[in-house]
Symmetry: C2
Subunit: 370 residues, 2 copies
Amino acid sequence: MVRPTMEDVALRAGVSRALVSLVMRNSPKVSEARRAAVLKAAEELGYSPHAMARSLASRTSTVLGVMVSDLHNAFFAEVVDGIDEVAREQGFDIIINTGGRSPARERRALESLLSFRPAGLILLSPVVPATAISKAAEQLPIVLVARSSRVSTVDTINDDGEQGARLAVDHLVSLGHKRIAHLDGGEGTQAGPRRRGYVTAMEAHGLVPQVVSSEYTDAAGARAIRRLISDGTLPTAILSCNDFNAVGAISALEDAGLRVPADVSVVGYDNTSLAALRHVSLTTIDQPRAEFGRLAALALLQRVRDGRTEPVRHLLNPSLVVRNTTAPPATSRRSSGSPLLPAAEGDSAGSGSRTADFQAKSPERRSRDH
Amino acid sequence: MVRPTMEDVALRAGVSRALVSLVMRNSPKVSEARRAAVLKAAEELGYSPHAMARSLASRTSTVLGVMVSDLHNAFFAEVVDGIDEVAREQGFDIIINTGGRSPARERRALESLLSFRPAGLILLSPVVPATAISKAAEQLPIVLVARSSRVSTVDTINDDGEQGARLAVDHLVSLGHKRIAHLDGGEGTQAGPRRRGYVTAMEAHGLVPQVVSSEYTDAAGARAIRRLISDGTLPTAILSCNDFNAVGAISALEDAGLRVPADVSVVGYDNTSLAALRHVSLTTIDQPRAEFGRLAALALLQRVRDGRTEPVRHLLNPSLVVRNTTAPPATSRRSSGSPLLPAAEGDSAGSGSRTADFQAKSPERRSRDH
DNA sequence: TCTATTGGTTGGAGCGCTCTAATGCTGTAG
DNA sequence: CTACAGCATTAGAGCGCTCCAACCAATAGA
């Protein structure tokens, strides 16, 4: 249970502690003979450097702290993948902490992360107040992902929610839809831009926006649909604020005897793994999540190593992923057939395209070389 | 960008550095007057202790390292919640790292975690070789979750996969099913116990086991079903190795014109959030995930603080969650109607029960008090 | 009055490392 | 043969903290 120190390695290799230190940081100014001797001794003792002592002595850190607001959300997992990729290739380690979307827990997580004096911090969609962020930004570089900020000391990486919503509306309009409702994300992060994008896109097409208040959950999506049906204001297409909401909307539609996409088209937002399931096969808006992570890590490293001080604001382009929940509106194919009647049986074309999309998105296989 | 040190606080409060240290660790042997003065000075300077220096000096750590093999899997998020809960309440912090289910990355993550010299390590379903684990176990206490080990220095927390599979089989048998296939998890973690449990439960009921080789993905579930259909060996009920596999199976069944659960019942395993979606509403086996985390943290702390040395092996009981993908077999209701014909339209009872279950499992609401 | 005792406080060593400046050691030029 | 690079190596201070032993009243006991 006791790890050897540099001193032990030095003793065994018959050199000084400082020389071991140089070898460990693979300095070029060490003779090959000594280097080999030191590495051999280290190997034999099972020595590996003590990151904390190193960081304390050097007054620098090779650690990037990442606060994930919600570990349950796979969205963040992919962002972390991107961060990890860049960090690793630049010789940095990452440590993760989570705030569970509670401001109190997040604050604690932030404190905990700060106490390790990392080189910088990446906050993924944090819910802590802006003051807490700018206070932390006085101590180290901070990058915000999926949350905006006007503080000049922090960088931000966001997707262009307005553009994403516009893509969805354009797609639906091109299919022939005229009545398209937006199930709004309310207080949720990024709900604002998506709503604005929806409204302006609708108006650009000369259509009347119909914003329905909802939330980022499948229950909320279902509720919103039931409300629309009972009000008699159900449109031919729905743009949900995210994929969960969309899946809830689809269930409620099917429960009401309506078919998706035959009677109503539904578009999600986020392209979560949920959307890609062949059982769901949801048309949705994809955000370049891994790219978020890569850019965040890069931005942080620019501040840490290159001493950049002007803030960076990235606004990434989302893209449309067409799957099987969107189709031309029923009225444009048939005159006025009751939308409550199930469509004809055996739509093998539909299931065929599902399979096709699924294959395209199929998971990477394990490489046999590893 | 430069944080104050204890020295600064001591100077400002007019006391020694050692006294500040005592206050920071809220030692009882400090007079109230001094304590107040120190806290005031610390507050004014925005001081907070340097965790690394503290850990270095005290040769102890209040950090628990957690390696999550796959951040994309929400299963682990709930385990982390449990760990976090216990750790926090015992005054420990957690740092997380991820291995992305690649042995090489996991090894690196392990190294990174170890370099912080945490008090102990919790590995969630790691894929690194057992030797790497037992080597790490020489340096600090280790708890394994969802992976077994015979090394006497590591504790393990697992679910009883045999029992879970038995629960599923019993449920299906009680509904009247006689032909029940198991879509096997192959190499996957915990696939073995589940398969064994399935086989023994079937035999206990005097039924013939039908193990179909598959994997932990929805694509694999769909493939297995297509194979069964083309072989003409499709049973009346399916026990999948996990929820993803089950969802893939359901899609393939529906694509083939079969209805779930009217024609074929499907049971998943894991009770992921996916299963709870009203659109999926999957009957499945629940594992007490947060409990995994709590027990893991507890076990670790017992070793860290109480010096326990005998290994602990927890085997937790899974439970059955009945939703809407299981029902009595078609043959027990109708004589021999072709299972390829869709069932009667408008089964409002089915959608009704979906809603009921969904409400019961509905997410916690945000408390207005916060 | 002198010595114990107690509770609060402090200096200093040291945790495992890095970093600077100094050291020793060649080899080559003067 | 001395001087001076130039290079590999090392002693030693110090990072921010903890911990131990010592210290210093102030009170209690003899």
